[in-house]
């Protein structure tokens, strides 16, 4: 077929123009903003004051920003291990042919359907409550004094509380992705392995895991993206004023753009932009590392 250049241009033009306006322009503008001091996020360019790298220098010298980066790293790493581990375990159990599979799957997925605000309130005001909390009652029932007395919400343990509550809601989502990956693997592999005398654990180790490589990569990518944008749970676990245990870079960015708490604090959208740029760099690095670790070795099954 003869290629018609005009038609190619005409049909591509809308997509290219839209992409430029909606993706490229904001990226370009954000990077540019990060080198300026800007009070209001929508201020005209004429009001911007060039400040070179000072936004980045200030960020690296600010204890609170360093804390927020450390928090998000902890959420990504520890939360990631916890969520991926549990999700994989549940997915393996659910796909092993147990009874009431759909019921269990629905139960584990349930937190994703409930509003995060309701979930966080339940955890904060009920489950972790030092007065009448679920864990306190459980500790009392089991005569585990450490659990009964454990102060989930004080400054020393608030991060653990946040991590537990957040991961509880995330397991179901990643479990579904793993489960669909496992179900894609043909039953004949397992049949053959059973005939060869491999037990369930060996089958999981030598068949399921290797064939889940691509799905694992997807899961880690999804997890990294949602971790980088960690905002809502942080806000819900530190109402009104932010907290050293729960603050994340996106919350820090928000405070610099819209002001913190009820107080009138200095605003600088340039710092917010710099946080955004740094976060993007982190995400890109994680993707590159992930790509290196989980090379697509084109296993066909």
């Amino acid at each position: 077929m003869k290629k018609n250049k005009t038609m190619i241009v005409v049909f591509l033009a809308p997509a290219v123009i839209m992409f430029s306006i909606i993706f490229l322009y904001p990226i370009f503008r954000t990077v540019l903003m990060s080198f300026f001091k800007i009070e209001g996020v929508t201020d005209a360019v004429s009001k911007w004051q060039f400040s070179g790298l000072s936004n980045y220098i200030k960020l690296f010298n600010t204890e609170l920003f360093r804390i927020s980066m450390w928090n998000i790293f902890r959420i990504w790493l520890f939360g990631g291990i916890l969520v991926m581990g549990l999700a994989l375990l549940f997915a393996a159990i659910l796909t092993s042919g147990i009874r009431f599979k759909n019921v269990f799957r629905a139960i584990i997925y349930m937190p994703n359907v409930v509003s995060a605000v309701a979930l966080a309130t339940m955890w904060l005001q009920y489950v972790f409550s030092p007065k009448f909390g679920l864990f306190k009652s459980l500790g009392k029932f089991l005569h585990w004094e450490w659990l009964e007395k454990f102060q989930w919400l004080d400054p020393a343990h608030l991060f653990i509380a946040l991590l537990v509550a957040y991961c509880f809601g995330m397991v179901g989502y990643h479990m579904l992705i793993f489960a669909s990956g496992i179900e894609r693997i043909g039953a004949d592999y397992y049949e053959a392995a059973t005939l060869d005398g491999a037990n369930r654990i060996q089958q999981f180790r030598y068949i399921t895991l290797p064939l889940l490589k691509g799905v694992t990569k997807t899961n880690i990518t999804m997890w990294s993206i949602s971790s980088a944008g960690f905002f809502l749970w942080s806000q819900l676990f530190s109402m009104v004023v932010s907290n050293t245990q729960t603050i994340t870079p996106v919350v820090y960015m928000y405070q610099n753009i819209f002001g913190a708490g009820n107080s009138m604090t200095e605003r600088n959208a340039g710092i917010g932009a710099a946080v955004g740029v740094l976060l993007s760099v982190c995400v890109v690095v994680i993707f590159i590392v992930c790509d290196k670790i989980f090379k697509d070795d084109d296993i066909e099954f």
Binding site: N4, T6, M7, V10, F11, A13, P14, I17, M18, G40, V41, T42, D43, A44, N61, T62, E63, L64, F65, I67, L124, Q125, F128, S129, P130, K131, Q151, W152, L153, D154, P155, A156, F237, S238, M239, V240, V241, S242, N243, T244, Q245, I247, Q255, N256, F258, G259, A260, G261, N262, S263, M264, T265, E266, R267
Partner: protein
């Protein structure tokens, strides 16, 4: 070739229509309709002409329309919003001025107002906290002095709050206060009586004495939540050296200032004597106010005058609310006459073409029946000085409000540095819980720098 040209043209017009659809809903929206309609009705010869005519007329109709556009900080479900909606209906019935009220909520206004104003969205009036409106959005406000004088508005307004509005407005009045609030110690009168406390404490020694009696009576003297705990730090520092100096310390990281250590030592003493709630370190708002103060196990809570309304369903009707200003400290610069008090304020967009009507609405909402209705429904303080009757829950707040002459901003300066607030909150919470002592508190702030 013709066919190609036609399809190319169609493609372009489709793209234009899509792009135009993304435009702001303000003045450009009616014009979009014109472009989008024209190609669709290409067989009718008159259609394009009609399309353009529509486009020309529609924006004109919108900008000269009679309706006021009011962006509100309340959520539609809140009692404040319900009271305002009712009053606006009455206002429209009375004056014939239609009002398009949009309840944006706190975050909606905070995030969306400035971009909307920058984009030229048609907003005549809006409201938010006195400080945010006057400082953050100060450059968008219409000077109201003339309108206020012409309507003799100040005759019934709260003089102290109008003065506060002038002060934060840079000497001129750019906002009208309503829903006043004051930040002070709120307490359970029954516990005070049972403990034998006959007068509210006005000095630190009296405060310690009060705490001791309450503790002896078997109650928790003081509780708080993570959301407000830094105010205790700010208030104490401000009592010692005044608010401006406190704000300087917080902003410049001057943690060697001896007022910091003195404040920390005062709170270390409270903690060591067991005057704080046992769970103060774990109190995530609203746990302290709901499960301790409102349930009657704790006696005092430093908070705003919105507190009785927030917990009224838990506290019950027989809960007797008392209020006193943060006590004066030995050798301090400020006394009980100083506190954080303020209001929500209405302001008019400087670009509004209907400023007079907007002021008429503000006048209506902040005076007389509408003000009384708002006060009643939200258990809030009335703005109109003729509405002398305060809601029963706030009866004891009136003398405190009337006694104030020095105004602190939010948190008495404790939260002036956003980079430090969470660090102050964390360490001050630990100090109140007895996990660290005064010196460790100061060291922790110093270690965080800035």
């Amino acid at each position: 070739m013709k066919k190609k040209m036609l399809s190319a043209l169609l493609c372009m017009s489709m793209m234009a229509a899509t792009l135009a659809g993304c435009g702001s809903t303000g003045d450009s929206a009616p014009a979009d309709e014109g472009t989008a309609e024209a190609p669709a009705e290409d067989t009718a010869t008159e259609a394009p002409a009609e399309g353009t005519a529509d486009a020309a007329e529609a924006p004109a109709a919108e900008s000269t329309g009679d309706g006021l556009v009011y962006w509100s900080m309340w959520d539609a479900a809140e009692p404040q919003a319900q009271a305002i909606s009712q009053s606006i209906e009455a206002f429209t019935a009375e004056t014939g001025i239609a009002v398009d009220v949009q309840f944006k909520g706190r975050t909606g206004i905070r995030e969306g107002l400035q971009p909307a104003l920058d984009a030229g969205t048609n907003i005549d009036l809006f409201d938010e906290d006195i400080d945010r409106v006057n400082t953050t959005w100060g450059s968008y406000l219409l000077d109201l002095e003339e309108l206020v004088a012409a309507n003799d508005y100040e005759a019934t307004a709260n003089a102290g709050l109008i003065a506060a509005c002038r002060e934060v407005g840079g000497g001129t009045l750019k906002s009208i206060p309503y829903q006043p609030n004051v930040f002070a110690f709120f307490y359970n009168i029954d516990i005070f009586e049972e403990a034998g406390v006959t007068a509210v404490p006005t000095t630190w020694d009296e405060f310690l004495d009060t705490c001791e009696k309450i503790k002896a009576a078997g109650y928790t003297p003081i509780t708080n939540d993570n959301a407000y705990i830094s105010s205790m730090f700010g208030y104490h520092m401000s009592r010692l050296i005044g608010e401006p100096a406190t704000e300087e310390v917080v902003k410049n990281g001057d943690w060697d200032n001896e007022a910091v250590l003195k404040t920390a030592q005062a709170y270390e003493e409270l903690a060591s004597k067991g005057y704080f709630s046992e769970t103060i370190e774990s109190n995530q708002w609203p746990a302290g106010q709901n499960t301790e103060l409102a349930m009657g196990t704790a006696a005092m809570y430093l908070n705003g005058s919105w507190l009785p309304n927030e917990v009224k369903d838990i506290a019950g009707e027989d809960f007797k609310w008392g209020c006193f200003s943060y006590p004066a400290v030995d050798g301090g610069t400020d006394g009980t006459e100083a506190s954080n008090y303020g209001a929500q304020v209405f302001a008019i967009n400087a670009k509004s073409t209907k400023a007079e009507q907007a002021f008429q609405l503000i006048n209506y909402l902040t005076t007389g029946e509408a003000d009384a209705l708002l006060s009643e429904m939200s258990v809030g303080i009335p703005a109109d000085s003729n509405n002398a009757e305060w809601p029963a829950l706030l009866t004891n707040v009136k003398p405190v409000m009337d006694s104030l002459s020095t105004r602190y901003p939010w948190g008495a300066g404790a939260e002036a540095n956003a980079d430090m607030t969470p660090i102050i909150v964390e360490n001050f919470t630990k100090l109140c819980g007895g996990s660290i002592n005064a010196q460790e508190f100061v060291d922790a702030l110093k270690a965080a720098g800035n």
